[in-house]
């Protein structure tokens, strides 16, 4: 999505990205970024929380209007409303899972090779 934002800006259309993968977006380099520190999947607010979603949309639009230079990142003040410790979870690789992931990768490569075989 960062690449799309860059294309729009290059052609004169201002953008604001609302997202939760701070490192990936900043590594690419985008004009305006509202960082929402949530599990990936709900960049615009926790599910069913219209109040928080409304606040985040307001922050994003405010950033759109206020930023004066590229690479402007703002961290949303909205916190994930749960005690659940989601941070270590996504994409984790534990020793117990190593064998399962290795097998999964082998299956995936086998399927990809088959789909490329003519006929």
């Amino acid at each position: 999505m960062s690449l799309v934002a860059r294309h729009l800006e290059t052609n004169g259309m201002p953008t604001v990205i609302v997202g939760s993968a701070l490192d990936i977006v900043e590594y690419c380099g985008v004009p305006r970024f509202l960082f929402t520190d949530f599990p990936l999947g709900n960049p615009c607010g926790p599910p069913w929380r219209r109040d928080l979603q409304r606040s985040i949309a307001g922050q994003a639009l405010d950033l759109l209007g206020r930023a004066t230079a590229p690479r402007t990142t703002q961290r949303s003040g909205v916190a994930w409303p749960s005690d659940d410790d989601w941070r270590p979870r996504y994409g984790r690789v534990t020793p117990e899972e190593a064998e399962r992931l290795k097998t999964l990768g082998e299956e995936r490569r086998r399927r990809q090779a088959q789909s490329k075989t003519p006929g």
């Binding site: 999505m1 690449l3 799309v4 934002a5 860059r6 294309h7 729009l8 800006e9 290059t10 052609n11 259309m13 201002p14 953008t15 604001v16 990205i17 609302v18 993968a21 701070l22 490192d23 990936i24 590594y27 690419c28 380099g29 985008v30 004009p31 960082f35 520190d37 599990p39 990936l40 999947g41 709900n42 960049p43 615009c44 607010g45 926790p46 599910p47 069913w48 929380r49 219209r50 979603q53 409304r54 949309a57 307001g58 994003a60 639009l61 405010d62 759109l64 209007g65 230079a69 961290r75 989601w86 941070r87 979870r89 996504y90 690789v93 899972e97 190593a98 992931l101 990768g105 082998e106």
Partner: protein, 159 residues
Amino acid sequence: MSEAVRYMDRTRAYYRALGYPSDYVWARFNEVPFARLALPLSQMRIGLVTTASPPDLGNRDASGQRQVWSGDVEPAPVTLFTANVAWDKESTHTDDRASFLPIEAVQERVAEGMVGGLAARFHGVPTEYSQRKTMEIDAPQVLERLRADGADAALLSPL
């Protein structure tokens, strides 16, 4: 304040565990373009862009490749298809479409007068392994569709 999750490190470790020999190379640029607002925010029409797919996955072409697609904001879609993109499926869910495509939240800001309007359509852009497809095919299509809708600026919310 907690430290932000380092998704690039996680992704590298995950794909190494799957046995892939080389790491994904993320896009990186020294120069960042910046378009200034031509109008006050209160007069601007905002277009929305998502990485979700239509519920029927109808944005695939004859070869099965996913393409840019568009949907109406009125009536707003109840759900969109998200299972084909990477998000934290253990920690949350995407049953509430407004949690990743903020149609109602922006409409409320329009009603308050903070922004001038919301474009009649939102646009979906596939997440692709090929950065070239995104840059050369998909991004120009998104721009063309936003302009056709009369959008002055875009809010992009990748899952």
